[in-house]
């Protein structure tokens, strides 16, 4: 963008940004936490909140995410328990972005130290200081993510987890949406120490408007697994930012399932900083209706030797739904033997739905294997006929094909029983929609 245009855009954003900031209250706090918030606020002011003219906001309109008031979102009762409910887990419940301690398990589990963000921030000396806002700030270049900086400045709740061993069960965060105009900001910090490993589960819509940031620091030889479902509320909006830093021989795997929600923007920024690390990020999305908009924006940076990264995103869109994928693999100079893979595919069930994809590769090393692919297609009519000719009704046959299409993304879930639970829930939703 030419300098003049850049300046003009900055002016355009300034007003909207100040309006938003004026409507918010910075949480109290001194020490390192206060410094981190102040620095984040300065980042927000410097960048300005997203504008449709920003390169990475061309496909997704940011207004409802940036404006002062959260648009109303009616509540939804799916008549079924939240995912993961009968699993052995450490369970924490958030109501419109606030931890409900009485509905949650005690913050204790062998192999991890877990506390509330506000408690961690009240301590003068805490490891969180080296992570809070740090990974987020690192992830602002070369692509700006002002809503994540806004989160760092204003988040008042969240969990801070340090994993030192191999806890016997996952930590599960259930996000309840109970207020039609709630505007929630959550910020989680996770540090997986050398050789440690954990699984984090997230489920639920969280709020009418939800801004979540999660910073994950995966040390050498550590493993982090993440599986989330973003609830079924039709009108909820959310923007999430996952910022991960991976050490030598570490593993990071994240899977997200999105069904419903008028606006979802899931950003994932991963930096492979140690040799032989593995990062997989995947998503399965089912969108219905012309007000459905779902955006996956992923940025993977290879800055070490012999690392592997996979991006697998599948979207099923119908009745005018829109899906967006912006995925980038950046291989820095010296990151030899990189194995980077990226696939984004959409299944368009009608002519009104659309999929906008922007796959990017930027490679500065000369001994790498990177591949990317993006496709949009209709349902395979021959296969549909085959299923119907055996007696499977059209709607059910379509559902089978939809599940088959999503399978490659669902296979990215490491734990088979969790993958099964996801598939089962998804088929139930599809079935009821058709009924």
């Amino acid at each position: 963008m030419p300098a003049v245009a850049k300046q003009k855009l900055a002016e355009l954003k300034r007003g909207a940004t100040e309006d938003r900031l004026e409507a918010m209250t910075l949480p109290e706090g001194a020490g390192w936490a206060g410094d981190a918030r102040g620095a984040a606020l300065a980042r927000v002011r410097d960048m300005g909140l997203p504008h449709p003219r920003d390169e990475y906001w061309k496909f997704t309109r940011p207004e409802t995410l940036t404006r002062a008031e959260a648009p109303k979102a009616s509540l939804f009762d799916g008549g079924e328990p939240h995912l993961f409910h009968d699993r052995d887990r450490l369970h924490l419940v958030f109501r419109d972005g606030v931890l409900d301690t009485s509905a949650s398990d005690a913050l204790a589990l062998d192999g991890i130290e877990i506390e509330r963000l506000s408690d961690a921030m009240a301590k003068d000396i805490h490891w969180a200081r080296d992570v809070y806002g740090v990974l987020e700030a690192n992830g602002q270049h070369p692509v700006q993510r002002p809503l994540a900086a806004l989160n760092t400045a204003y988040a008042s709740d969240g969990v801070v987890i340090r994993v030192t061993g191999k806890p016997a069960k996952p930590v599960c965060l259930t996000y309840l949406h109970e207020d039609e105009t709630s505007d929630a900001i959550l910020h989680h910090l996770i540090r997986v120490e050398e050789g440690a490993e954990m699984t984090l589960l997230e489920t639920g819509p969280a709020a009418a408007r939800f801004n979540k940031v999660m910073e994950v620091d995966v040390a050498d030889t550590a493993t982090f697994h993440h599986v989330r479902a973003q609830g079924r509320d039709h009108e909820r909006r959310c923007v999430t930012g996952t910022f991960a830093r991976l050490g030598t021989q570490s593993t990071f795997k994240s899977f997200t399932m999105t069904v419903n929600g008028v606006l979802t923007r899931n950003e994932c920024v991963i930096e492979l900083t140690g040799d032989d690390a593995v990062a997989h990020v995947a998503g399965a999305c089912v969108g219905d209706g012309d007000d459905f908009h779902h955006d996956d924006t992923v940025f993977v940076t290879h800055d070490a030797v012999n690392c592997e990264s996979r991006q697998v995103f599948k979207k099923v869109l119908r009745n005018g739904a829109t899906g967006v994928f912006q995925g980038k693999i950046l291989v820095k100079d010296g990151a030899q033997k990189t194995d980077g893979y990226q696939i984004s595919q959409s299944l368009l069930l009608d002519d009104d739905s659309q999929f906008l994809a922007k796959p990017e590769l930027e490679i500065y090393a000369d001994d790498v294997a990177c591949s990317h692919g993006s496709t949009s297609g209709a349902i395979d009519e021959t296969a549909l006929f085959y299923l119907r000719s055996r007696g499977v009704p059209e709607a059910q046959a379509t559902d089978l094909m939809v599940l088959a299409f999503l399978a490659e993304a669902l296979q990215e879930i490491e734990d088979e029983s969790i993958a099964e639970e996801m598939v089962e829930r998804l088929s139930g939703w599809l079935e009821r929609r058709a009924a």
Binding site: D380, E381, T382, A383, F385, Y386, L387, R388, S389, R390, G391, V392, P393, E394, Q396, A397, L400, M401, L403, A404, F405, A407, E408
Partner: protein, 251 residues
């Protein structure tokens, strides 16, 4: 059982008449074979019976046990008892063979107002049927027809037939792409299903399948019509002299 009267069919997209007045009756318990040269309309007839898109019936009727078939969706035809064993069975990545079969069976039971079959009962049924067709557990677990050899695909078609127990089985060139052993296996599977209440329509180019599945009646189809009907000996005549003689005879 199956009554086809004066069936005229053209392609939906272009003005090309494929079937030009087919009359055919298949009685319950009988095996009818249709032979004919390439492009005579044999496969089109099988598609029309099963309800595939892309064709327009301009005249005539099809009924199964008195029910008008042409009015029904493919899944309704299946529930009524129509089954087409495809010439080219379709690969469906991501859909497990077992899931597919169980979904199909239960959908048909539901359409008939019957209870769904339990997972345990289904497993028992499928194991028994699969064993006869030498279909192993791995083939049942894999996605539908994905990575199957030609013979495995055809055996899988017959397995579906055995599980779904249709009234009217249509086999579209089931012998194509099969070696002698595989053909024998498929034919044995079909023969095991022959029964008083079930009709068969076997479409083939060659007589050799009919050595194994011995038909009661053989029809010769050419240029969109049945031009000659006879007993099993008619198939042997085709094998010996080709279609040319018959075509000359009826011309």
């Amino acid at each position: 059982m199956l009554e086809i009267n004066n069936l005229h069919v053209k392609l939906e997209e272009e003005d090309k008449q494929i079937l030009k007045g087919v009359d055919l009756t298949v009685e319950a318990g009988k095996v009818h074979a249709i032979m004919g040269p390439n492009g005579s309309g044999k496969s089109t007839l099988s598609y029309i019976l099963s309800g595939r898109d892309g064709y327009e019936v301009t005249d005539g009727s099809i009924s199964l046990e008195g029910e008008d078939v042409l009015e029904l969706e493919p899944e309704e035809r299946a529930a009524l008892g129509v089954f087409l064993a495809f010439q080219y069975p379709v690969e469906i990545p991501g859909v497990g063979n077992m899931t597919f079969l169980r979904t199909a069976l239960n959908a048909q039971r539901k359409a008939k107002g019957e209870d769904e079959m339990s997972a345990a009962d289904f497993l028992k049924l499928i194991r028994e049927k699969a064993k006869d067709l030498k279909i192993d557990a791995d083939m049942l677990k894999r996605p539908v027809n994905v990575g199957f050899s030609g013979g495995e695909k055809k055996r899988n078609e017959i397995l579906q037939m055995a599980v779904l127990e249709p009234k009217m089985c249509i086999l579209d060139e089931t012998d194509s792409g099969l070696d002698v052993d595989a053909m024998k296996l498929v034919a044995d599977g079909v023969n095991a299903l022959r029964s008083e209440g079930r009709g068969f329509l076997v479409i083939t180019h060659y007589q050799r399948l009919l050595d194994h599945i011995v038909p009661d009646v053989v029809h010769i189809m050419a240029d969109g019509r049945i031009v000659k009907t006879g007993g099993p000996e008619l198939a042997l005549e085709v094998e010996k002299n080709g279609y040319a003689d018959i075509m000359a005879e009826v011309a």
